[in-house]
Subunit: 244 residues, 2 copies
């Protein structure tokens, strides 16, 4: 169950057997999640980091009048609140599915970060990649059309899912509604719906009942102006989990 965390850290520089064991040992307990549950709440000053071991979640902030911005989607292997180790949380993370969260005591993580520089590098990298994804979303929201933004998001998710071995026959389970999609891209639900129809109409993808199917990868990449460089997966040693 914990292996996806190891995989995620390892993605960007292989760890030794001992180091992998240390990473596995970080998770001292697990909790199951239910749909819609808040896994991390604004204002939290937690004593543990939460790692998503199974299921999916999204990071978001809601403004006083109800406008919502989703800032990221999370898949197994992702650390949900490394920030909580150093700063209070300034947003929420909510479960999209039932799943499982691992708890990593801050004290234990601090010891490991000090004692195992290569593991610390793994955490640094994932944290910096998350920031790179934020920047890429900024480029999308600032400078791309709705059409390209949607295509780009699906490209990104497919690549991330694939790295965790969660893509089969160009399909992956991605159980968000069109409203989630809108709130992540800065669009209205109506416009998202119509734009999604255009993407379908071009034969690029299908997306229904929480299942994303990429029908034309080159076409989708082109539509989204997608270049996976910012995910920094090419800086990977090996990708044992990769499926396809």
């Amino acid at each position: 169950m914990v292996t996806r965390l190891t995989a995620n850290l390892q993605l960007y520089g292989a760890l030794s057997g001992e180091e992998q064991q240390v990473v596995e040992s970080l998770v001292t307990s697990t909790r199951s999640t239910v749909v819609g549950e808040d896994l991390v709440v604004e204002g939290d000053a937690p004593t543990h980091c939460r790692v998503l071991l199974d299921g999916q979640a999204f990071r978001h902030r809601t403004l006083p009048d109800g406008r919502r911005q989703i800032m990221s989607f999370h898949i197994p292997g992702d650390v949900l609140d490394l920030q909580g180790m150093f700063l209070a949380m300034d947003h929420n993370v909510t479960a999209l599915t039932t799943g499982e969260v691992g708890l990593v005591p801050h004290a234990r993580l601090a010891d490991v970060l000090e004692g195992y520089p290569r593991i610390a590098r793994g955490f640094w990298r994932t944290s910096l990649i998350e920031a790179a994804i934020f920047r890429e979303w900024m480029v999308g929201m600032g400078r791309r059309t709705a059409y390209a933004r949607i295509a780009h998001l699906f490209c990104e998710m497919i690549v991330r899912f694939r790295a965790m071995g969660m893509v089969h026959q160009n399909r992956c389970h991605f159980p968000i509604t069109q409203q989630h999609l809108s709130d992540s891209l800065g669009l209205s639900a109506v416009h998202t719906n119509r734009t999604l129809q255009a993407l379908r109409g071009e034969g690029l993808l299908s997306f229904q009942h929480g299942e994303l199917v990429v029908l034309d990868w080159p076409g989708l990449k082109a539509a989204g102006e997608f270049d996976a460089g910012y995910l920094h997966q090419s800086e990977i040693a090996s990708l044992s989990l990769a499926g396809g």
Copy 2:
């Protein structure tokens, strides 16, 4: 000259005298910058981190057809490419002014991060705060009007400048053009211009010749729906540099 780096790291948790000296000693050499110079270039896999000691800069990416998205503005004390320590750079950082950049050899920084956990925490914090700022910009671009977005950016910059002692009588030097402003907020230059006029018309601020003057702080905060929490400055021990 190096003190703003120390101040920046210290903002989020005081360092001992020895630790401060270690931080100061990180910068082994400095280079002066000219306006428009690229300080960090996409594709770089640098051997040093660059710290902005004096002057200002912006982080951005330009798409093949010329659309540009600015992702952050940088002021003295900011580390420009901590990412380069762990990943290749995926965007550029360009100087807005003449100034000075300090070089920190990666090897030296790695040693210090391993040997001085409290300094490492300082770097973690600044890195996570940068990510928090990215998220806040996403909220703006996704869910705020042009009017609120502009107001919000100016609020953010004033608060950040103030923390570095760079605000005097509610004025600060912020030498960006309306085009920079547009590219950071995802707007056209024309619309930015007109919206800026509206903000001026409300008596909230003045912004010309690269000087920002806040005329009505409560009004500007309200216009920008600004809450400084995401900058995490309230988690500060003390703020010796703060001016006003």
